[in-house]
Amino acid sequence: MEPKVNILVVDDEEIVRDSLAGWLEEDGYHVETAENGPKAIERLPDKSWNLAMVDLKMPGMDGIELMDEIRKRYPDTIVIIMTAYATVDTAVKAMKQGAYDYIVKPFNPEDLSLTIRKIIEHQNLVRENLYLRKELKKQYRLHDLISKNHQMLEIFELARTVARSGSTVLIQGESGTGKELLSRAIHMESPRRDSPFLSVSCAALTETLLESELFGHEKGAFTGADTVRTGKIELAGDGTLFLDEIGDIGLKLQMDLLRVIEQREFRRVGGSELIPIRSRIIAATNRDLQKAIAEGRFREDLYYRLNVISIHIPPLRERKEDIPLLVDHFLDTFNIEMGKSIEGVSKSAICLLMDFDWPGNARELRNVIERAMVVTKGKVIVETDLLLPSRNENEGAGGKSLEDMEREHIRRILLENQWNIIRSARMLGIDRVTLYNKIKKYRMKREKPEH
């Protein structure tokens, strides 16, 4: 149900107050009236007023003075000035001092309806925007990241310090360790928090598409470029640009990116104008960049440009003390999301979770808990609710390499899910990009399910 819209009508003429209130009430608004400025001020604390419709000429305090008071005390309340004697001077004065509109009595009913509807819609959007921003901040602040591992606590401390600077950050860590989560937290902790956080998955796009995604392009820059497109670097403005899977970009784009980071300006594809960069860059990868440099697949100079501040997130198997904490956190999250009231995880189930190596890290743990919460029949998650790959596949693995095992496991999961990438990635506890990379690496092709 929509929240009630409160409107305060202030006019010294009773007939105006009554007829305006009556008309607005027919539209479902809650309307109260006051006959002068001081009486209106008395009413202000009573409610959260969406709108005050104030007569310009009233004995004692006039409409403009009342509007000043309202705006000083309740800046969210929108004020419309009404008058029967319109002059350009008063209209200009009212608008300059912050009136939303200046309307002349009698009003055309259509105009009045439209004006009020626009105000309410605008206020709803502002309210929704504030709420969403607050929710995002809640979700991604550093103090909401969970760990008691000393290495992780040091990372959080470093991230807090880094957030205040504008330096480029390189976050390394296996898939599912929370590289993007940490970058978002750095952004939310930084003075850039009110500007956008934009994420680009470098591995998900071809080199040409990625170039256009990052730098944008001018109309006619290439076949199909029908309109000008603004790139993510430009869209990020004063915010943060998160380049995920940076280790996967080609050498040409590495060179372009290096130039952009060094010179702090760039050109759109096909453009000649130099556009300055104001955003901060955070890059992340699950690849061993040193090895990639040694093999000539990654530019050393770009690596040093990105690696001004280096953060390496340890895998979950190296900080198993975090598992119970993360389990509790996921339980709380999913209890809210699913409307359930699961109280906890049994001791033996926790032991099982602690014994597992978590190749998909915290993301995989999250998925295992989510599934368990769906299938569990009691108030406590028990061993049989947990679906851990190791429980079914460890046997009979003799003689196979880790890569063979991984390929086989991915193939099986893909078949099980009829090659639905999202579902398969979720089940494997890795993101879609990583799954695509692995499919490419193992040259896997879609095959018909076995019957």
């Binding site: 003429e13 007939i15 105006v16 009554d18 007829s19 305006l20 009556g22 008309w23 009430e25 027919e26 539209d27 479902g28 009404m82 009595k105 009698p106 009003f107 055309n108 009913p109 259509e110 009045l112 309806s113």
Partner: protein
């Protein structure tokens, strides 16, 4: 009992048609009262219109004791001080309402007269104002009689019936039919 009160001269055939149709759709007994003169103080000389709130006040003075609601019909252009015109006015949740025929006529908009269109518009506005009397506020369903109409185009677009939700609320407010 729902009473219809002509204010000034109103076409008798129209009055009888409204009486019959309201009786069927609202499932309530409807009766047309003798006309009352247009209250003198309701004329706004500077605007050449009649102040609907003042007329309503006069109507309520002579409301029959057994009246569930009292619907006034007038063939003059109506206004309230803050609006350039109104098609009608109702006391929200109160006993009386009034509907004007003036702007519902095609000839008001420079078109040849059309009695069929006039009646359809009039009937929709009667449903609308009576809805307010029974406590309904404006409805967001463009087809519903309770949708706010600021122009005759809005009136023509909506149906001569309440939406399901408004209909249920209205039925609850009217209560079971008493014979």
């Amino acid at each position: 009992m729902l009473y219809i009160r002509p204010v000034g001269v109103v076409d008798e055939t129209l009055l009888n048609e409204v009486r019959e149709d309201l009786g069927v759709s609202l499932r309530i007994r409807v009766k047309v009262l003798p006309p009352m003169p247009i209250p003198e103080g309701s004329f706004e000389g500077s605007r050449n219109q009649y102040h609907s709130t003042k007329i309503l006040r006069e109507m309520v003075r002579e409301i029959p004791a057994d009246a569930a609601k009292l619907l006034g019909l007038i063939d003059k252009d109506l206004c309230i001080p803050i609006l350039t015109f109104v098609f009608g006015e109702a006391q929200l949740g109160g006993p009386a309402s009034i509907v004007s025929l003036a702007r519902l006529r095609q000839e008001f908009h420079g078109l040849p007269p059309d009695r069929g269109i006039l009646y359809e518009r009039l009937y929709k506005e009667c449903l609308h104002e009576l809805g307010h009397n029974y406590g309904l506020v404006h409805c967001s369903d463009r087809d519903c009689a309770m949708y706010l109409s600021n122009t005759v185009v809005d009136v023509d677009r909506k149906k001569a019936a309440y939406c399901r939700s408004c209909g249920v609320t209205l039925r609850g407010a009217i209560g079971p039919r008493k014979e």
